[in-house]
């Protein structure tokens, strides 16, 4: 292990974790704040990635698009596409019970993946799309990390402010009791739709950054169950409803996921072929341990500070509910 190697790996690790962090924050906006059970993260992520790749990529005979526009345009288009998709899905499903929304979004993500796979005129199909540029051609370098980091901070700020604001309060209220929110004059569907669309747009944004940082996308990158679940694990481990927790959880889980191979590398050589499976087993076990010891995540949700009043030690009752 050399210092320079460590540095390069560090750049890459942080960039990837940052992109995951954006996804997790977006999910926190949807689930942590609003109780919207989105299991279609991979779908919105994919739509963002493809949308951005189509407009920023080079012209090609393989598929449509290839306008070679700059990344900011790609990001904007990605967010727009994901948002529009979320709006359409949301308009139809926002009324559903949360677990139904979950399965609906899961299904939609799978449909999106199949469309990407099979509509090769548009997406390059199973062959994927290559040559997606990144600013200054810095696919996994410092520039990309800086871009991702700035975006992450910005999204953090937006989601955190949304959480402590009256808007977040209404959404948490809707999460707790829809009827009451209605009786208080809040348009449940509108608020939910806002959260769903905003969160999904952020997911699209993450997709755009991902495409740009990795330079090549194909349907394999967007496995619905897998891609979506990693993000959920990050959110729940960190503490849903808590933005700090979300970010910490993201980095932690990605670290564990990535470095669990260090453990399995210690296995005797003749076990090497089982190493992959053992690694996955350990990841599962670790996740269980986190859930069992900290079921509300490392940083449980707390009522937000009273923004109209200087902070004082609010002694909030944190006991669990039993009845």
């Amino acid at each position: 292990m050399s210092a320079i190697g460590l540095y390069h790996y560090g750049l890459y690790f942080l960039t990837t974790a940052g992109i995951f962090g954006i996804l997790a924050l977006a999910l926190n906006l949807q689930w942590g704040l609003s109780g919207l059970f989105n299991l279609g993260i991979a779908g919105f992520f994919a739509v963002g990635a493809y949308a951005s790749a189509l407009v920023t990529g080079p012209a090609t005979p393989d598929h449509w698009g290839g306008f070679a526009l700059p990344l900011p345009v790609g990001v904007a288009v990605a967010m727009l596409c994901s948002a529009v998709l979320a709006f359409v899905i949301g308009a139809a499903t926002m009324r559903l019970r949360s677990d139904y929304l979950a399965i609906a979004t899961l299904g939609i993500a799978e449909v999106i993946r199949l469309v990407i796979k099979n509509e090769s005129e548009l997406t390059g199909g199973v062959r994927g799309m290559s040559g997606i540029p990144s600013p200054f051609d810095a696919h996994s370098g410092l520039v990309m990390l800086i871009i991702v980091a700035i975006t992450l901070v910005l999204i953090y700020w937006l989601v955190e402010r949304a959480r402590v604001s009256p808007w977040g309060r209404v959404l948490r209220g809707i999460r707790e009791n829809e009827d009451s929110a209605l009786a208080a004059g809040k348009s449940v569907t509108r608020f939910r739709l806002q959260a769903f669309v905003a969160g999904s747009a952020f997911m699209g944004l993450a997709g755009a950054l991902y495409a740009s940082s990795i330079g090549f996308i194909s349907p394999e990158a967007f496995q619905p169950l897998y891609g979506t679940f990693v993000i959920w694990v990050m959110l729940i481990a960190g503490g849903s409803g808590n933005n700090i927790g979300t970010v910490v959880g993201t980095f932690l889980v990605w670290f564990v996921w990535s470095f669990s191979s260090v453990l399995t590398d210690l296995l005797p050589a003749d076990m090497a072929t089982q190493a992959g499976a053992i690694r996955i087993f350990l990841i599962g076990l670790l996740l269980q341990v986190i859930l069992l010891t900290r079921p509300e995540g490392l940083f449980p949700e707390r009522p937000p500070p009273l923004i109209g009043r200087p902070r004082k030690a609010a002694d909030v009752d944190k006991t669990g509910t039993r009845n």
Partner: protein
Amino acid sequence: MIQVDNIAKSFGGIKAVDACSFEVAEGSITGLIGPNGAGKSTLFNIVTGFLKPDSGRILLDGDNVAGVPPEQLFHRGLVRTFQTPHEFSRMTVRENLMLVPAGQRGENLLQSWLRWARVKDQERQLLDQVDDVLAFLNLDHIADTLAGNISGGQKKLLELGRTMMTDARVVLLDEPGAGVNRTLLATLADAITRLNRERGYTFCVIEHDMDLVAQLCAPVIVMANGSVIAQGDFDTIRRNPQVIDAYLGGVPA
């Protein structure tokens, strides 16, 4: 102010409300009583837009509002409580109240992101208002408790508290007294009277506690089997044999 005009609603084969008509006059505290299952809560649900009537009209200031969704009616000054408390359980008691007022700037996501100072200003005023309500209802010591963790009666109070957070014109209370301690109930009655007198709220109150009804309500409307069987002031009502038979059960109220 509110006119219920020939409303009918059935669930499957059950006629919950049937050809029901009455009026809640502006400035009154109208009582709505009747046996269990008479259709009172269902009627509230219809008036406040949570249910669509099968037929009939609901007139609010003369406009038919039957079928208008609840969140819109709220903005026309129609506010309600629920019979079983509908608190926001994983939010503090204070937040439960703060959520209610309409027209909060910060409810607009863009304003929250871009005009923080103004949002903050408004929150400051809101907090003071909430403190008053909390003190009034004796809930100030549990202001920062999660609403899911307070006692049944406290939840009822919180329910009432939410109606006090608005510029309501008509407040529909579904059994505000059930489960509330009698000492507090007296305070509650005072509160309702004061809101009625000082702020001009119109009330329509479903209640089974005849002391409270006697003290507060005029006129009183009696429902049974989905329609109105009697109305008038409480003293007349309590002597109405039909009402005694169906509802009071021979108890001298």
